[in-house]
């Protein structure tokens, strides 16, 4: 048997170039011949083609001969063979489900393309595109994100246009009255040469509905309005208890789950010990890990239902898409 394989390999090496020249042939190899869909025990030269074309429609010089040096051939349809791309790779145009990030973060997921004022923009999380409130409007967004090798300026795909600020517990207060009172206190401290200064922090942070931001692409040709491993989005749907869902993300790729809780209030930890309270969230089982933040969550009919942003070992926390759309004034 090994002799047969080696004999056919040497025949193939002589004829490989000539076989691959034919219009439809994308690969050649040694394998068992299939007849009527069933594998036989006869070795042959297998020619993989983009598409099987009836002999009548194929010029003779493009046809795979039935035998080469008295070794039979077989033709199988494999389609075009492409190098497999990982979501952490560079994509142009870029679909949803791939690595993205603000220049100062590690990496998150490009959720999907949405429309703001008639223009397609990237939708992801604030903590992915706006560095958890620390970014400035106009900052560079890289695809892939910096952790996946994205560099400025060669991987600069978009600029931050808008984000919904996250209200953290114990964060700085915007209360003007409290800040005015404290500035008087601090003035007093300075007068008595004290090293102590006071600052106003929120005891009870406001509740958050979304961790969301958008970024406008530098070049409209970089927009691929579908989701990697899922396809185009087919509308939106409000998340309900028991709904089957799926996502395509930078770290865990394509995963599925089920909405196990609605109307969820959750304390979410951000880096550096910051905690933010989110209300009206959807909760699913474990279907994500760090780096999947920003993933678009869809139902079985590819309708958009949420924006993934957090999770624990056993859960995934998702913003309702209706809250995301109304907070940012966007649509599909």
């Amino acid at each position: 048997m090994a002799d047969d394989v080696n004999r056919i390999r040497s025949i193939l090496s002589t004829h490989r170039r000539e076989l691959l020249k034919r219009a439809n042939v994308v690969a050649t190899g040694v394998g068992y011949k299939e007849t009527g869909g069933a594998k036989t025990d006869r070795l042959c030269i297998v020619c993989s083609v983009k598409e099987k074309v009836p002999p009548a429609r194929l010029p003779e010089q493009e046809m795979v001969p039935t035998a080469v040096d008295s070794t039979p051939t077989d033709v199988i349809q494999t389609g075009v063979i492409r190098a497999l791309q990982a979501p952490t790779d560079r994509f142009r145009p870029a679909p949803g489900g791939v690595s993205v990030g603000h220049v100062d973060i590690t990496a998150g997921t490009l959720g999907c393309w949405v429309t703001k004022s008639g223009q397609k923009v990237i939708l992801s999380n604030n903590h992915v595109l706006a560095n958890s409130n620390a970014a400035e409007i106009g900052d560079a967004i890289l695809q892939p994100g910096p952790f996946d090798g994205g560099r400025f300026p060669q991987d600069h795909i978009a600029n931050l246009t808008q984000f919904v600020p996250i209200s953290f517990q114990g964060g700085p207060s915007e209360c003007q009255f409290a800040n005015a009172v404290i500035s008087v206190f601090n003035f007093g401290c300075r007068l008595i040469s004290s090293n102590t200064r006071y600052k106003v922090t929120k005891i009870q942070a406001e509740e958050n509905l979304v961790d969301a931001a958008i970024a406008v692409p530098l070049n409209g040709a970089d927009v691929k309005d579908e989701i990697f491993n899922i396809g185009p989005i087919q509308g939106t749907v409000s998340g309900e208890l028991g709904m089957a869902i799926k996502k395509s993300g930078r770290t865990t790729g394509f995963t599925t789950g089920e909405i196990q809780q609605v109307d969820v209030t959750a304390n979410v930890q951000y880096g550096a010990g910051q905690v933010a309270v989110f209300t009206d969230q959807l909760l699913a089982g474990a279907m994500s890990q760090g780096g999947d933040s920003g993933s678009a969550v869809l139902d079985n009919n590819n309708r958009l239902t949420g924006l993934l942003f957090a999770g624990s070992d056993k859960t995934t926390i998702i913003n309702r898409i209706e809250n995301v759309f109304s907070a940012l004034g966007i649509s599909l």
Binding site: V264, T265, N267, V268, S288
Partner: protein, 94 residues
Amino acid sequence: MRMVAILTVLMIPLTALGDDLGMSPSIQEVKKQHEAQFLKMTGVVSVGIGLDPDGNQAIIVGLDGSHPETEANMPQTVGGFPVVVQIIGSIRAQ
């Protein structure tokens, strides 16, 4: 004064009737009333609406780890709805 007393007496059967007609608070209302109190308990990181193991609507309380005292102090039901405690771990931005 007498008027108020009469009205109060009249209100009692009306309220009871309301309950019979399914006017008792919804699970959303009950959850809203109790969630701040639950979130103050040690280790509680989430409160949501889901299903208990029998498939009944329930208030689901998530813990970041094992907290026997919190579990012992958690009521089994509130406003007629079951309360289910689950250890889900810390929730982090991903």
